[in-house]
Amino acid sequence: MKVITFSEALGETILEEMERDHTIFTYGEDIGKQGGIFGAYKSLLGKFPDRIFDTPISEEVIYGSALGAALVGMRPIVEFHFADFLFTGIQSITLQIEKIRYMTGGQGKLHLILRGPDGVSNSAAAQHSESIETIFMHVPGIKIIIPSTPYDIKGLLKTALRSNDPVICFEHKSLYAQKGEVPEEEYLIPFGKADIKRPGQDITVVTMSRMVHESLKAAQELEKEGINLEVIDLRTLVPWDKETVIKSVQKTNRLIIAHETWRRAGWGAEIASTIQEEAFDFLDAPIIRIGARNVPMPFSPVLQNYVTPDKHNVVTAAKQLMEGI
């Protein structure tokens, strides 16, 4: 096992896959020459100059061209720069990319990947801080992967690059520099297979992305008080691993769902609803959802901190469940 950063794992995956499959190419804003605004493509600088290149600032064109390229047999990996900018080209995605396979009765394969950073960073404010994965969970037709470790991004992206469906991948800005173990040999992580990042018996915490790490920090603190969290990283949101979550809730009888996106109608609501439908009799307490407050992200660091969930929210929720405060 080697220890590399999340960015390095991403770069090495794209290189390995481009060498394996000549139909793979990748483009977007500021990746070819700059290496990505958060350094995601740093390790790709100077490699495959004809297959890794920059585009003009036009999301509609970027996503639309990817759709066309995929339809004629290529495997484009599109960098969306900031998840917030997906909104500027959203019709290409929700109306075209997510529907073509269905509308052609499965005749057209649509192997394309949309990937890029999301989530809060220091004072990036309302238009550069969003996590909008729930939107793509809501509109049918695209698979969603949200890795939280170098190991997971590599295994999940490899699976995405071998599938025939459109896939969107959200990479939290705070994760790119994080290091983790990655095997030397090739491996794939199947979609819909959650990873129990920490086993526990008192409360199940279903989470993804940056909140996986916040939940693990919370679990460490709570352990001192005798509360044991089971932290489940879903890793893929469409499809999501219902079986693992239900199995865990059957054990702990308590559930917290923690995500960075807005709490109101965030994907946590979908998980909560499914669990109460399918594991109602195993619940010993109400399900608690943790998410951002229902406002656009403020610029003020103090307010950003106030709006964004972190480990403290998990600790508070866990105590509420255990002690009935």
Partner: protein
């Protein structure tokens, strides 16, 4: 209103244990009725109601211990029934089992309070499912979750409590604790062996009968003679020190309602047969009445445990520490026996069981002890 307090049965009594109540809350009691049974570490007695009235409230629960003088119940007249109503009303809202009220007034209170509405009970889905599985009514269970919600924990602790209702925990009396302590000590420290032999009691039985004393008195008299010869059996062994006594204090294991007590016949070797008889009677009467003093229960140098009138032939008596030996006498029964010149005769036979601490007494010594006492018993000289 009249308060019933934990009574003081004797000078030394500091607390009492409520064995059982004869009356229920809400019941009318007459002056002179037995209210409850209380035991101290020495005796058990009934508590008589000093007044007539309604037993408004029972504060002392069965199976619990209370200090002397503590209020354990309240008796009042009809006008004071509000106290009872208030209490019963409170209990209902707490969700405990409804009592059977005695009077009309209480009946109306019950109607006003009404049974618990099922939809008022908060329980988690899991708790509801478990309650169904175990056949538990949720209204029996207090909820510890937020807003009084019944949770898995509450169901589990209710089930546990139910399990413990299959038995009752007997509180150990002070006497029983002393017995436990002494016997455990003896058992864990001494290396106890038991030698047994059969002995012909016919002559001793006849002679004691003639002298109008018990066989026990005769045995003790002869035991003293044996101990005067084999002094090592009249010893204490404690903390590595072996003390051989010049005086003989015989502990007499005595069965009482409250358990085993061992009153001590002091200087038994100086007593004649009749004096021993008197001493035994005095001590055993006082033991049964629970009136023995501390000094009458201590400083024995050798103990005898006599099951002569009960169904046991031989047994393994446990040492009474720090003593080094104890003699057990089994049931005396008539048996066909071979006696002089190969004749068969009907004799009063019994087994003696001598337990001894093998750390300081050898098996051969024990055999010699039995041999000597058997000689004394079979050809008794009671002067």
């Amino acid at each position: 209103m009249y308060e019933i307090r934990m009574p003081k049965f004797g000078l030394t009594m500091e607390k009492g244990y409520i064995e059982r109540w004869f009356k229920k809350e809400g019941e009318f009691v007459n002056k002179g009725d037995s209210l409850l049974e209380v035991s101290s570490d020495k005796i058990t007695n009934e508590v008589i109601s000093p007044v007539s009235g309604i037993l408004l409230e029972i504060l002392g629960q069965e199976g619990d211990e209370y200090p002397v003088g503590q209020i354990i119940a309240v008796i009042g007249d009809k006008n004071e029934e509000f106290l009872l109503e208030r209490r019963q009303g409170k209990e209902k809202s707490e969700g405990s089992l409804t009592k059977q009220p005695q009077s009309q007034d209480i009946e109306s209170t019950k109607k006003m309070t009404g049974p618990i509405n099922k939809s008022d009970i908060k329980a988690s889905p899991l708790a509801k499912k478990m309650a169904k599985e175990y056949g538990i009514t949720l209204s029996q269970i207090p909820g510890s979750g937020p807003g009084g919600r019944i949770t898995r924990e509450d169901i589990l602790s209710f089930l546990n409590k139910q399990k413990t209702e299959d038995f009752k925990i007997i509180k150990l009396s002070g006497l029983r604790k002393t017995i436990i302590e002494r016997l455990s000590q003896s058992f864990h420290q001494a290396i106890t062996l038991t030698n047994s032999t059969e002995v012909d009691f016919t002559q001793l039985k006849n002679q004691t009968k003639d002298r109008r004393v018990s066989i026990t008195s005769g045995i003790i008299f002869l035991l003293c003679k044996t101990l005067l010869t084999l002094k090592q059996f009249n010893s204490h062994f404690e903390k590595g020190v072996l003390k051989e006594y010049n005086i003989i204090n015989i502990g007499l294991a005595t069965d009482t309602e409250r358990g085993l007590v061992v009153p001590v016949i002091k200087n038994a070797h100086k007593l004649g047969l009749n004096e021993i008889q008197e001493s035994i009677k005095n001590l055993s009467d006082r033991a049964k009445a629970n009136k023995l003093t501390e000094s009458e229960l201590t400083h024995s140098t050798f103990t005898i445990t006599n099951l002569g009138k009960m169904r046991t032939d031989f047994f393994t008596p446990v040492l009474n520490p720090p003593e080094v030996a104890i003699l057990g006498v089994g049931r005396i029964i008539k048996k066909p026996c071979v006696i002089d010149e190969d004749k068969i005769a009907i004799r009063d036979m019994a087994y003696l069981s001598l337990s001894y601490d093998h750390r300081v007494i050898d098996g051969a010594d024990a055999a010699r002890f039995l041999d000597l006492i058997v000689q004394y018993i079979e050809k008794p000289k009671l002067k």
